[in-house]
């Protein structure tokens, strides 16, 4: 049960990242690798502030805001300075590596004996449960600390998902989605297409930084390397999510992103349990995304050649 709960918790935390990437990757159709840097940025800012005695909520909020700024800079590189899409992200990600080191002052900040956003939840639960340190969830004893982290992650994730769905259905959100769909049409409707890209990338990286800030608090440290490969992880989660729920509506798409992330974390937990070397995790993820991207094409051509073969026979 411990592993399952922790997989769920990490999944819920990383769901913010997946939702952010949904905006850039799926709505704007912008392959934004800034993610790898802004994830660490969120973790770094939150860790430094918490260590220096700031409230974890405020630290998380400010970490999110730095992500918003990072994303909008990538957007400006692309729209204002006409730098290629991928390169804009790479430039920002590279710059962020140094910036993150500057913020942290060293490559790793442990968060031991510090408060985190789940502190208040834990407080409430332990007062309700009468000072026990384990409670029963579906027949399993679970430590109150772990459960309150899970609950906090769940609440934040659900709120973020609801807010995102609401936003994407507003006038502004509609314009943003259309910007990735058909730039020419968007401009013909009097919408500043470039502004939409900047806004979208900003929101996207804000969510990514939020995710980083929460993960640092959950795992108890921020590390300058922790963002590496996050974009591909997010991508894998999006792909799984789309297979789970489809994309018939905004609500389903977002729910898919959340479920996809959790499902992916569960798969990883199981694989690690079966003895997968953690160092191979990124390779396995990359291969998975590769397969998920090419499989539909293979299936199509396979089907065609089978049908073609039958017809020719």
């Amino acid at each position: 049960m411990g592993i399952v709960l922790s997989a769920f918790t990490i999944g819920l935390i990383l769901a913010a990242l997946t939702m952010g990437m949904l905006i850039s990757f799926r709505m704007l159709r912008f392959t934004d690798i800034t993610v790898d840097g802004s994830f660490t940025l969120g973790a770094a800012v939150a860790a430094v502030m918490i260590v220096n005695g700031w409230s974890p909520w405020l630290a998380t909020l400010i970490a999110t805001a730095t992500g918003l700024v990072a994303g909008s800079i990538t957007g400006l590189l692309y729209t204002r300075f006409k730098i290629q899409m991928i390169l804009s992200g790479i430039l920002m990600m590279t710059a962020l590596y140094s910036i993150n080191l500057r913020i942290m002052g060293r490559s790793n900040i442990p968060l031991l004996d510090t408060s985190s956003v789940s502190g208040s939840t834990e407080h409430i639960i332990s007062s309700l449960s009468g000072e026990l340190n384990r409670i029963n969830i579906l027949g399993w004893p679970v430590s109150i600390t772990d459960f309150s982290v899970f609950l906090t992650a769940l609440i934040i994730c659900v709120l973020a998902a609801i807010a995102l769905r609401w936003f994407l259905l507003t006038h502004l959100g509609t314009a943003l989605r259309a910007s990735g769909n058909n730039p020419q049409m968007v401009r013909a409707q009097g919408i500043n297409h470039n502004l939409m890209i900047v806004l979208g990338l900003s929101l996207s990286n804000g969510l990514v930084a939020l995710s980083g800030a929460l993960l640092a608090q959950y795992q108890g440290f921020a590390d300058v390397q922790m963002g590496i490969g996050m974009m591909v992880w997010g991508l894998a989660s999006i792909i799984i999510g789309e297979a789970l729920t489809g994309t018939r509506s905004i609500g389903l798409t977002i729910a898919g992103a959340v479920l996809g992330t959790i499902f992916f974390r569960l798969l990883i937990a199981i694989a690690l349990r079966w003895g997968l070397n953690p160092n191979d995790l990124k390779l396995v993820t990359a291969v998975f995304v590769f397969l998920a991207l090419v499989a539909p094409i293979w299936v199509k051509s396979l089907r065609k050649s089978i049908w073609g073969g039958l017809r020719n026979a």
Binding site: H171, N182, Q189, G190, I191
Partner: protein
Amino acid sequence: MLKIKELCKTFSPGTVNEVRALRGVTLEIQEGSFTAVIGTNGSGKSTLLNAVAGSFEADSGSMELFGRIITNWPEHKRALLIGRVFQNPFAGTAAGMTIAENIGMAMRRGQRWSLRTAITKRVREEISDKVKTLKMGLEDRLDNPIGTLSGGQRQALTLLMATWLKPQLLLLDEHTAALDPKTAAKVAELTREIITREKLTAMMVTHSMQQAVDLPDRIIMMHKGNIVEDYKDEMKARARVSDLIKAFERVQKLDLFDSSVAELLEQQYV
């Protein structure tokens, strides 16, 4: 009223692919007039319309729309005054979004960004009422992605969107060319209906001489980035399809003459 002065546009200047698509076009369009733009392939008709809409910056020249100099306005700002329907039926709508969402954007052209829900019940009813007038049965499919519709249906919706808020200028670029004859006729009829009802100022590129003679009150013919014929008032009233075809033949002969002269010179001097 639209005033275009000495408008020039060269694509890929200084390369082997250099195309002088507009070579000093000067044109005045009166308020409430409907102008057809005809001309051979590559004569610069689309380029002229795109320049007015702001798809690219013109190299030189100026454009004024109802007293405002729009020469340096970005495309999205001009779109507040100008409605467009494109040659490509898929260009004017966002395929992945629903019919209602597409129209919802057109209903707010030029208004401030808001964080209110885009498609409310009231907006939906308004959309449904107007889409019904197309008589295509689309009012029952408002929540379907617009990409699932046929080119003709999408073109009709694009026309509806371009004119939802009365534009000061409507630009139509062979908007019926990619449709089957029956649908093309329907969209053409719809165009006439909207333009006369709303008394719109419009420019329409077309390859159909019949269409140019029937609906508009003025016809301009383009050739090699310039306006070579301009039929208006009585001249337009007297113009027949055969006159237009003769004009076409005239410019084509000139062209032939040009190239044969060039060949002659080449033989002599190279």
